[in-house]
């Protein structure tokens, strides 16, 4: 719920930076490793928006995969079955890349 509140604060702040235009849709980029369950977050967001000045506002989730980058061949690959080794060259020398995202990726604003 506190993450949902932070999302709405971010929407308010960004609308404010764009002349206070009403946002009708917010894009959220959520990584598989963010620690956030998208459906729970959606439920909390929809609950908080009811009766708020932000209403009507809908949410669009983009789920980002858990990825690592290979130090040997440079490939950024998706981690499947918790296997941290490179999916192309099988090197075990890999570093964290994506999947921790928790971002507001866009707002659709009403034309002034």
């Amino acid at each position: 719920m506190s993450i949902a509140a932070a999302v709405l604060d971010a929407v308010r702040a960004e609308s404010g930076l764009h002349g206070g235009a009403h946002a009708t849709r917010a894009g959220l980029r959520i990584g598989e490793l963010s620690g956030v369950e998208p459906e729970s977050l959606r439920f909390c967001l929809e609950t908080l928006v009811v009766g708020d000045a932000l209403e009507p506002l809908t949410f669009d989730f983009e789920i980002r995969p858990w990825t690592r980058r290979c130090r040997d061949c440079g490939l950024e690959f998706r981690v499947l079955d918790y296997n941290p080794a490179c999916s192309a060259c099988r090197s075990p020398r890999t570093d964290p890349a994506g999947g921790a995202e928790m971002e507001l990726s866009y707002l659709e604003l009403e034309e002034p």
């Binding site: 490793l33 075990p92 999947g99 921790a100 928790m102 971002e103 507001l104 707002l107």
Partner: protein
């Protein structure tokens, strides 16, 4: 009109955490964020850790719970500064709570600051507290697959403390499998195995801490 953004949802928390981290770095304070399920032994580990320190050492603890100051009272017996953060419902600490918890303390003088998070393997993961390192505790009365069930938490941890190893003869827990699971999620994770009851492994844990100062 669609406006593309790249705004982190927890941007404000991250900014506060960055300021805390800078402050800890400037003063040479090593800050450790301890995360685990309820009952894995965070407070017991801190009790044994504080008990082993020379009283002249400059060590402090902020301990978070939803309710009660029981943990702070347990930890205060060792003579080091301890404060309870009672979150009043929130299931994690955030950087603002840490900043407020430190108010009035001679933070600049601390060599180690422990942040005992609220017992929860999910929500604390998302909140940077400005720590230098993050330790996740797993006890042998839990499942070996906890790292696979809560990959985000273990993925962001620098150290796994496998606790209650004195109970290994009495439970079906396979320590090697738990360690393997943690390394699948976070290949660079360091692991120490301890018992806060028997004291086994605590020397390795202390050495890990001292190496970071």
């Amino acid at each position: 009109m669609r406006v593309p953004l790249e705004r982190k949802v927890l941007n404000e928390n991250d900014c506060l955490a960055a300021a805390l981290r800078e402050r800890f770095k400037r003063n040479g304070t090593f800050c450790l964020n301890l995360i685990s399920s309820p009952g894995s032994g965070k407070t017991a580990l801190l009790e044994r850790t504080l008990e082993g320190f020379d009283p002249a050492r400059r060590v402090a603890v902020l301990t978070g719970d939803i309710q009660t100051d029981n943990d702070a009272r347990r930890l205060a017996r060792y003579g080091f500064p301890v404060r309870q953060i009672t979150t009043g419902g929130a299931c994690h600490l955030d950087a603002r709570m840490v900043e407020r918890g430190l108010e009035g303390w001679p933070v600049d003088d601390f060599e180690i600051l422990f942040l005992e998070n609220v017992g929860n393997l999910v929500c604390p993961t998302s909140y940077d507290l400005g720590e230098d390192a993050r330790a996740v505790l797993l006890s042998v009365t839990e499942g070996e697959d906890k790292p696979l069930k809560y990959p985000a938490t273990f993925h962001h941890a620098d150290l796994m403390v496998l606790n209650k190893i004195d109970l290994l003869p009495y439970v079906p827990f396979q320590a090697a499998l738990a360690c393997e699971n943690a390394r699948r999620v976070q290949p660079d994770i360091e692991i120490v195995q301890v018992s806060c009851t028997s004291g086994q492994g605590l020397d390795v844990w202390r050495a890990w801490l001292e190496a970071r100062l």
